[in-house]
Symmetry: C2
Subunit: 450 residues, 2 copies
């Protein structure tokens, strides 16, 4: 089943669920549900009702009188995964005496507007960015009311797609949100404003950065896969990668190569200086590790039959078919991967068949301010130089209050993780700058709300 | 048919269509249609297609190289009505060499997403502010492309609800819109942030301002209507007001009183210093005129059977049942009208029965920045002191670039009308300030777009 999945590195591996994972530490969250409007933009639709949106909350650090609210804008996964891997937010909450909320994104985790039928057509149609933002807006305003916190400044946080959402929240709802930390948010590339070759080129750079032999080894390995495929040695491929089902067509092989490409992508994204359990179990410095031990990792899900397609992956597949533009390509020239395109035409063909939708190129650019991000205020765009998503985001400050922070030795939203002895100086310094800016925003907002 | 209509002064009188009307002057517009997305926020809805959105355009004044685009965000009516009564925009276009576009609002005029079925349930559900704004955003970005005008600054204009939309456009789409002139835009009261008594109190002030005897006469007249009703002298009421159908119940009488109250409201809104043909044929200084000649005007539609309910009124009725909050009341104490409430509970009961919807109090406030309007930039809120809508809007400047302009002798968006020998000095001065600010915004945007 070839398709748009090939281009979505961040959702490639089956989630184990948070119970199988170790948290950085165990924050004292309570799990709650909010009665959310299903369709904010049509008062007479099939979504003319409510669903239960999950959120996690802790008042443990909160100074009700003087402390702010820290609100994580959940992204494409189970909200516990983000809560358990964003220790910076709780650490900062302790310093700045904040209430902390992690809100789950509609259609992910347990926040399914139509339960088991959420991914049917047409029910899946209410999975859009604007609906998700309106969810967060309603949740924030109603929780503030319930908690008697109407004068309490709100800061939003998010990583990756969640970082995009946090920046959008500040743009869309400055009445509710005093500022946003958008960590590793590829706001430009996902809006179609970038070079389709950038992504896999930057993955390759990470491997070359450790040792040129490393990327050469990867090229060689892909060539062997290709050779086996050309000789239709499908048995060998199945045993080499422990596939549940034997590949049987060029499409299956393409899918396998896509999975492998994404395994390397994940290594680059998650190239943290210590072992993590966010997406799968990852050793410290996984890129370096892999260079010495090619192939032993990540076979669990390198499966052309699509073992990675849990409901979270379905939801992300749909988003990539509608609003989020991920037409990244590898070409074996500017990167170490086999040439694999994913053109707008291929996207349209897949999405129309799979979901009955027509993608809207340019839509995110129109909706969320495209090249006019400087007209916003109080947004931090942080990025790690090791992260292949970084150059799809904002890398230079756009104004005194729309600030880029670049973390030399950082991978994908390393700054959102809790502090660790292995942290490089660059992330320690980034977190300090972020903490200071956030404290300033909170103070300014307090004046406005008085 | 009592209901929410009673509270909607601006849509009370049946439109005659633009062909029956005299324009201030005849601007050289070409009528065109744009293939618009029916549902921007659901990729799999019944609105999974396009409809023809009407717009008017003239390049007559445009300097393609140096001139901006002036874009009117159409409101609750036939777009020609606004084009023919907003001469300021074309006059300014001539001065500043602008392309002019007037875009019709979905579900009004000829821009019916589902044709004759647009007001059926559930088809009517796609009539929301956010959908309308997204229409304008797509129209602007695609027309700019088609016209090879991607570096051309866009200024939006609107009056009344259209003024609200123009302010929202600048808030929502600063990437597409460099600034907004929001004339007579009751952004606060329609978002539920005001005093329900303000509106009819201010209508009353206008009449009292001419002569205290005048409001006393109105009170007396309403008392006579009440007396006739109490004696069930329905024949007399029918002949006095030339009703097509004899009233036969207290509900009919209430509806009649509502119509009459709104006739006075319209007089106050349209209290221009010269004769106009915007909503009905109106003499110069209609409030003053009416004080001398009570009852002879506006009988045409003072009809409890609802002759005013053309499709534009239906659409507005729906909007007042969903997002726009118009729970204004008269009480015969702070105003000259019979006590007539329209509470949130009455609204809910009517709207649920009529349209199958639940109104969302506070929704506009959440969506369009509530008390944080100062965080926007490049918006003019202009208001006329004679206009009962004025005090539901922004009356003091919120920042150097969110500017209030108050027009002492102005009625409802007088500043948008073309210049006239009878113009008071206050509107002449307001238009100059507006022109200067707009020229500054255009210059700034040109720098950004380069």
């Amino acid at each position: 089943m070839a398709g748009v999945q090939e281009s979505l590195p961040s959702r490639y591996f089956k989630s184990k669920g948070h119970h199988g994972r170790k948290a950085e530490n165990e924050p004292p969250f309570t799990e709650k549900y909010f009665s959310q409007i299903v369709d904010h933009f049509n008062f007479n639709s099939m979504g003319n009702g409510t669903f239960n949106q999950r959120y996690l909350i802790t008042e443990k650090y909160w100074d009700r009188k003087n402390g702010p609210i820290f609100f994580y804008t959940g992204n494409e996964g189970d909200i516990w995964d983000f809560a358990l891997n964003s220790g910076f937010i709780t650490e900062l909450a302790e310093q700045q005496r904040a209430l902390v909320i992690f809100a789950e994104h509609r259609y992910y985790g347990k926040s399914l507007p139509f339960g088991q039928e959420s991914f049917n057509i047409p029910q899946v149609g209410l999975l859009t960015v604007e609906q998700a933002l309106a969810d967060f807006a309603l949740l924030i305003s109603q929780l503030k009311q319930e908690l008697g916190a109407s004068n309490c400044p709100v800061i939003v946080f998010g990583g990756s797609y969640g970082g995009m959402l946090s920046a959008y929240m500040r743009q869309r709802y400055p009445n509710l949100v005093a500022g946003a930390l958008a960590a590793s948010a590829p706001v430009l590339s996902t809006a179609g404003m970038g070079d389709p070759r950038q992504f896999f080129r930057d993955v390759t750079s990470d491997f070359e950065g450790y040792a040129p032999e490393c990327s050469a080894a990867v090229r060689g390995a892909f060539q062997r896969v290709q050779d086996l495929a050309e000789h239709q040695a499908y048995d060998r491929l199945q045993s080499a990668f422990a596939l549940c089902k034997k590949p049987s067509s060029p499409g299956d092989v393409r899918q396998l190569k896509g999975f492998l490409r994404n395994a390397f992508t994940l290594l680059a994204m998650l190239d943290y200086p210590y072992s993590t359990h966010f997406w799968g179990d990852m050793p410290a410095h996984p890129v370096k590790q892999t260079c010495f031990d090619l192939y032993s990792l990540y076979v669990e899900c390198a499966d052309p039959t699509g073992c990675g397609l849990g409901s979270n992956s379905l939801a992300w597949d749909y988003q990539a078919c509608t609003e989020i533009e991920l037409c990244y390509e590898s070409n074996n020239v500017t990167d170490m991967f086999p040439a694999m395109t994913f053109t707008p035409a291929e996207r349209l063909a897949y999405c129309s068949k799979r979901w009955g939708v027509t993608p809207r190129p340019g839509w995110l650019q129109t909706q969320y301010w495209g090249d006019a991000l400087s007209t916003a205020s109080n947004i931090i765009y942080s990025n790690g130089d090791l992260d292949p998503w970084a150059n799809g985001g904002v890398r230079t400050s756009l104004s005194p209050s729309v600030v880029a922070i670049n973390i030399t030795d950082g991978a994908h939203h390393l700054d959102l993780r809790g502090s660790n002895d292995a942290d490089p100086a660059s992330v320690i310094s980034a977190r300090k700058t972020e903490a200071n800016l956030i404290a300033q925003w909170v103070a300014m907002e307090r004046l406005r709300l008085k």
